[in-house]
Symmetry: none
Subunit: 188 residues, 4 copies
DNA sequence: GATGAATGAGGTTTCATTCAT
DNA sequence: TATGAATGAAACCTCATTCAT
């Protein structure tokens, strides 16, 4: 049970879950997910004891994936704006390159299946992003607001930007840049 | 003539659907919804021939509810900022007063069950809000961006603000105001 | 209840039932039948207290319709073969002209919803047909067989003939005649 | 490998379906069929993905059962009459021994649930019966009639014969023989 | 460990019939 | 008498999960 040792199968299940959920929503059948991963129905349950557990792991995986991407090339010494831009552009780049991942991520964010505990668990992976937003929360524009407001704002504006970027591939670059300009005007 | 269809029952079903969906998501069982509305299982289907139809009507109802509220006291002659503030504060006020309505609205926004046709149908109800955002899209900060970007940005930032307001009832007023300030700095 | 006095509505329901059952089978919904008769759902039940009763009445109606047709122009004094031909050609003519009636009749013949009592009740309407078949059962070819065997044989062979006639409208006349020749060779 | 699909369970479902349909018609509930086969409701659907598929398979099964019986002891070298008699007596024997099978077969013959494709599929199983009827269609009595008319006639007359045989077990042998004599007089 | 058949609760929808209007 | 809304028992089918192989 616990954590059997074929990581490729585990990955295959997670990928299949992403593809399936992107297509039909969180109601995706475990049997379909397993088949898409080219595994038997039952096998899924040796890797994730419950559908809810799969969903929680998936949530964590997606968050980690994104944060890993951001942290890999994080310009620790750059200006606040440049660091904010890094986070913004990495996030949107990821969303654009992996639309299914993003779609599932949005659904999981809203789902009650993902526990508070899981959500907290992913906080640890944020690394440099955390210090960035801590710094931002100190700026005049956000002073006095609850912790995390700056991050939530960025996330919200990314959502909005993504919706348009998804519809107009040609204008992506422009939208990402202008979107950031708007964001930066708000919190600068 | 037989007993006419009872608008109160229709409402009761919609209210029950809101409550139920807020609790368990769009997977809410029609049987549970009917029971919550104190009606027999089958009765639901004389008012909405399909669960999908119920969901679509619910979407329209919620949108109309909000837009009606906004339009009722719309300050047509006020400055752009004041009108934007009106929309912002009405929307957040509504979300705060009817958290279940908002929760369901968010879920429906993302659901494939709500058809493009339904979404277009609600556009008509927007009234003064439309002209406001058309005007905003002309401003320097948004010029060149796709139509609707300003509205999407407001909506996104409201989401973010709401998440915090929901958690800290005490700070609501402050959050709503400061949230708007941030928004306005971005698009002004 | 019993037998209310708008015979046109009664007829309308029976006709609608024929059309509906021909299309979707005996599972046809009473509500659909009523609507097709341009009546309200409930009205059907003031004319037929039960769906089963409707089915039984329909069975009787269809049988009577056919027997009335046969008896209307029955050549009482003609030869046995000529009288048999009359029955054969009337029956097939009716089936060809009213394919839905025939289709429903076949279904009702097999259905348990039609009671033995109803089946017996229609025997009375047979009139001249009965004496014809009684006479036929006396012939050498059928002597010793149970009563009604000649009639059943004709009915069966009509079914077979009809199936082909329905598929090849052009050959109808020929099929009806040759079919009868086959039948007559068997029982003559 | 997991437990393989169990052919006995498949059979059990088909048998249960026959029994149930013979009792209540094609409207027989899948749940009742499953219970009668001593299986869980859901299990039925691992063997037949749909009620319609079950019905189609059942149709094929019944046809094959009968044709297998006929072909097993088919007197290929006998005279036309003797071969016709073989088909006639095997068919009626089967109907008499398995009245439920026959009842269901008749219902399925008329049902729209059985697709044209399924019907064609069973043609292949007919084997020697096909050549017999092809030969018969060439005889003077049937010449010029559509292909299959001889077979349809036999089938129709068997139906008639069966109805009487079912009611008078004592006279079965006589009815089967005399029935064939009538048939043979017709098509000879 | 991997497989997929087995399970039965639960989901949506249909429908004959009743009954307030 | 006519109407059609109300009812709730089925009906068919799906699905997470278990367990024999």
């Amino acid at each position: 049970m616990a954590r059997p040792r074929d990581p490729e199968k585990r990955r295959a299940i997670l990928e299949a879950a992403i593809a399936e959920i992107a297509e039909v929503g969180l109601g995706a059948a475990t049997a379909k997910i397993a088949k898409r991963a080219e595994l038997a129905e039952g096998t899924l349950f040796t890797y994730f004891s419950t559908k809810d557990e799969l969903l929680n792991e998936l949530y964590a995986e997606l968050k980690n994936e994104l944060y890993a991407l951001i942290n890999r090339s994080f310009p620790h010494k750059a200006s606040l704006e440049q660091r904010a831009w890094h986070v913004w552009s990495c996030s949107l780049g990821w969303s654009i390159e992996h639309p299914a991942h993003r779609k599932v991520s949005v659904q999981l964010n809203l789902s009650d299946a993902v526990t508070a505990e899981t959500r907290e668990r992913t906080v640890e992976a944020r690394g440099a992003v955390d210090t960035l937003f801590a710094e931002m929360d100190e700026r005049e524009s956000l002073r006095g607001m609850p912790k995390g407001f700056g991050a939530a704002t960025m996330s919200a504006m990314q959502e909005a930007t993504m919706d348009f970027a998804a519809r107009s591939p040609r204008q992506r670059k422009m939208l990402v840049e202008r979107g950031f300009r708007l964001y930066w005007r708000a919190v600068r």
